[in-house]
């Protein structure tokens, strides 16, 4: 008879082991799925995890691309993780990402085509401000009227998407674009572009910012009084109140910070890899970042690893699609399994398994 017994303290060893186990079991379950689809499971798993890193044909291109794909995920996830630790659930990073990109792009398009060193820094400020401002809506509604920030931030994503569509077909439409929706190509406007900093490295300002954010988040969470307050508010809200933590201030701070980082991610994306505002500019980074935050155990260093792993499954997943003919839905299932196994194994870090004889009742 199996019995679960709650540990007095979550097990540190299991905390490190569960992500590894989850990845291993995802490979097994994913392999079964791919075999059921009639594909060679070993080839598929190798294609997803090995080929983007080491295949002589692709790797020199794919490896830097990991940074391009992981950059925005890490930047957003770091901000979300701080809030999640405090029990403040910003589910609307996707919307903050869009608004940040729109504000940044608006600055670029307003200055087009004038040169000037100050344009890109202004865009960065505008991007952070846009994301912050969009996150302030659920923050203020929560602190003033006690609305649920999960619902408000999530629903604001759909509002942001409509604003994006209206901008791409209206105010921000490229006047030289023959009437097609979408803005000017910002990446081709030197004063506003966010280029690859070193050729074929994948590094752009967004990736740099993501790593800076990781370092700051680490210091904040582990060395700063605010980090202590965040932890306390998340684990023992009543105790936090007695310790003098103002919940409203924490809500505004956490939502604002995660919003600003999501806005920055949007800005760096629109001026770099995405090149322009288009109807379908947002591709789900804000939602995937939630998975990345949890996969990384809400720890800044864990988030870097989780972001890179997630990026690997995306890039390897694309390879598996066109090299082996796997449908994109199977890759999504595969990514979903990863989160599922991770959460399932969390039981082991919080509980101990006891083998006991069934006792007569």
């Amino acid at each position: 008879m199996l019995r679960l017994e709650k540990r007095p303290q979550p097990s540190a060893a299991w905390g490190w082991a569960t992500p590894v186990l989850a990845v291993a079991l995802t490979m097994v379950a994913g392999g079964i799925l791919f075999a059921a689809l009639g594909k060679d499971p070993f080839a598929a798993i190798k294609m997803i995890f090995w080929d983007p890193l080491f295949n002589p044909q692709f790797a020199s291109y794919s490896r830097p691309q990991l940074l391009v794909k992981a950059g925005p995920l890490i930047l957003i996830a770091v901000g979300l993780a701080i809030g999640f630790r405090a029990g403040i659930w910003n589910i609307g990073a996707e919307g903050q990402y869009i608004i940040g990109a729109l504000c940044g792009a608006a600055v670029a398009l307003a200055f087009f085509p004038s040169p000037g060193w100050y344009i890109f820094p202004l865009m960065v400020l505008a991007g952070a401000f846009g994301g912050w401002a969009w996150a302030m809506i659920p923050a203020i509604l929560k602190t003033r009227f006690n609305t649920n920030e999960i619902l408000v931030s999530l629903l604001l994503v759909y509002v942001a998407e409509k604003i994006l569509a209206a901008m791409a077909t209206g105010r921000m439409r490229n006047p030289d674009g023959a009437g097609f929706p979408g803005s000017r190509n910002i990446a081709q406007y030197p004063a506003a572009s966010n280029p690859e900093l070193i050729a074929n490295s994948g590094m752009h300002w967004g990736v740099v910012t993501a790593f800076i954010a990781v370092i700051f988040a680490y210091i904040l969470l582990h060395k700063h009084i605010l980090g202590y307050q965040v932890q306390l508010a998340g684990q023992a809200p009543r105790a936090a109140r007695f310790a003098g933590v103002a919940p409203a201030r924490l809500v505004v701070l956490c939502l604002g910070l995660s919003g600003a980082l999501a806005g920055l991610a949007g800005l760096f994306e629109v001026a770099g890899p995405a090149r322009m505002i288009s109807i379908d500019f947002n591709v789900g980074y804000g939602f995937t970042a939630i998975i990345v935050a949890f996969l990384g155990r809400l720890h800044p260093v864990g988030i870097v690893l989780a972001g890179l792993l997630m990026a690997l499954t995306y890039i390897g997943g694309e390879l598996a699609q066109f090299m082996l003919g796997l449908p994109s839905a199977s890759i999504q299932v595969f990514q979903g399994m990863l989160l599922f196994f991770l959460l399932a194994f969390d039981v082991l870090s919080n509980y101990r398994i006891r083998f006991a004889r069934a006792e007569a009742a």
Binding site: Q57, F58, K162, A178, G179, F180, A274, I315, E318, F322
Partner: protein, 385 residues
């Protein structure tokens, strides 16, 4: 010609000229490249050509099972496979977002040995051109785009407004409430052009007909499309048209006992009684033609806008509910458009505000259509911007 419109058509005109000039320089460069390739190693290339099948890659904006846009492109991919057999292999990636994702997928395809790539959504333009510049030997075919910054980027598009003219005629004849509901995606020239074409031909046979347009700001959103369909029916529409890709509107029409036209593929099975016909996207013939050219070593970048005549725009079987005389008129119109005898935008046509657009007997220049941002006279409501 009022200045506003002149500005628009000039833009389009400039783009077209620019594209043409570019293409001439490109052709020049192509010859140089070909010459140097010849000196480098004809034997090796010849052997490779004879043995290896041509690898063709497709990138799709949606899932292959959408029964709309992507579905029709994938159907054409299968046509290519069937037509060429062992001489080609095809591969595809679904749900590829514009920007970094598209650029990465196409780059990796090219690195894996794919020699021809069909990018099947207009938003891939900048990505296609960026990748094309890095892989000059790969042939790129870009659907509904307008950017040609590399010699190996070809553009193709379909004159869907020709199909809209025909369904406009049928709707004008068959409506009893004189109200047609139109589910539109985005206020862009392609969609505005479709509304105008359908409206003009409905009005031609029914002076009392009105169009009600709902903009859903999405290409594929079954829930919103269904909600829009319900709203239009509430406003009295007894026939629905859609410029979105899901089967939701025809399904609602079937449930509510009114008529509807499908989009992109034959949607009859989703609405057997209600589905009058659908405008079909027929990419197969063009894809086969282009792949053949690539196989023969004769592929060159082009820029085509094909219609009913070239087989790119087709029709699903007409429903028996369409009266015999209306069916004959519709078939006659298809015939006349196909033969070039009739252009769906033939003057006199005024803009919504009453200012003249086309003189009597004048047909719309392509540049005007590709930049169309206004309704024609008689339409109610306004194009959002």
């Amino acid at each position: 010609m009022p200045p506003a419109k002149a500005g628009f058509s000039n833009h389009a005109g400039n783009n077209l000229t620019k594209a043409r000039i570019n293409r001439e320089t490109f052709m020049h460069r192509r010859h140089l490249l070909a010459a140097s390739a010849l000196t480098l190693g004809v034997a090796a290339a010849g052997a490779a050509l004879a043995d290896d099948p041509l690898q063709i890659g497709f990138i799709y904006i949606g899932p292959v099972g959408d029964h709309g846009w992507t579905f029709t492109h994938d159907k054409a991919r299968l046509d290519v496979e069937e037509h060429f057999g062992d001489r080609v292999t095809t591969t595809y990636v679904e749900n590829v977002a514009y920007g970094a994702d598209a650029e990465r997928v196409m780059t990796q395809m090219a690195l894996s040995g794919v020699e021809m790539i069909f990018a099947t959504s207009f938003g891939y333009g900048p990505d296609v051109n960026a990748v094309a510049q890095r892989f000059p030997d790969v042939a790129f075919e870009h659907a509904t785009g307008y950017i040609q910054e590399a010699p190996n980027v070809s553009l193709y598009n379909a004159r869907f407004y020709e199909g809209r003219a025909v369904i406009g005629h049928i709707a004008g004849k068959m409506t009893e409430t004189n109200t047609i509901g139109y589910i539109a995606s985005f206020p862009i020239p392609e969609v505005v052009m479709g509304i105008n074409s359908a409206f003009l031909h409905a009005r031609e046979v029914n002076p009392d007909v009105q169009f009600r347009v709902v903009w859903v700001y999405s290409w594929y959103d079954p829930a919103q499309e269904a909600a829009a369909a319900e709203a239009l029916i509430e406003q009295g529409a007894d026939i629905l048209m859609q410029h979105t890709d899901s089967t939701a509107p025809v399904t609602v029409a079937q449930d509510r006992g009114i008529y509807a036209f499908g989009q992109a593929s034959d949607m009859t099975s989703f609405a057997p009684e209600s589905h009058l016909t659908a405008i079909l996207d027929e990419w197969g013939p063009y894809y086969i033609e282009r792949v053949q050219a690539k196989l023969d070593g004769e592929w060159e970048a082009g820029d085509v806008w094909h219609g009913i005549d070239d087989g790119m725009v087709g029709f699903a079987p007409f429903n028996d509910a369409i009266p015999e005389d209306v069916r004959a008129e519709a078939e006659d119109m298809i015939e006349r458009i196909s033969s070039g005898e009739y252009h769906p935008f033939t003057g006199p046509i005024n803009r919504q505000d009453g200012t003249p657009w086309l003189e009597d007997g004048e047909t719309a220049p392509d540049g005007d259509l590709l930049g169309m941002d206004f309704y024609v006279e008689g339409m109610t409501g306004s194009v959002p911007n």
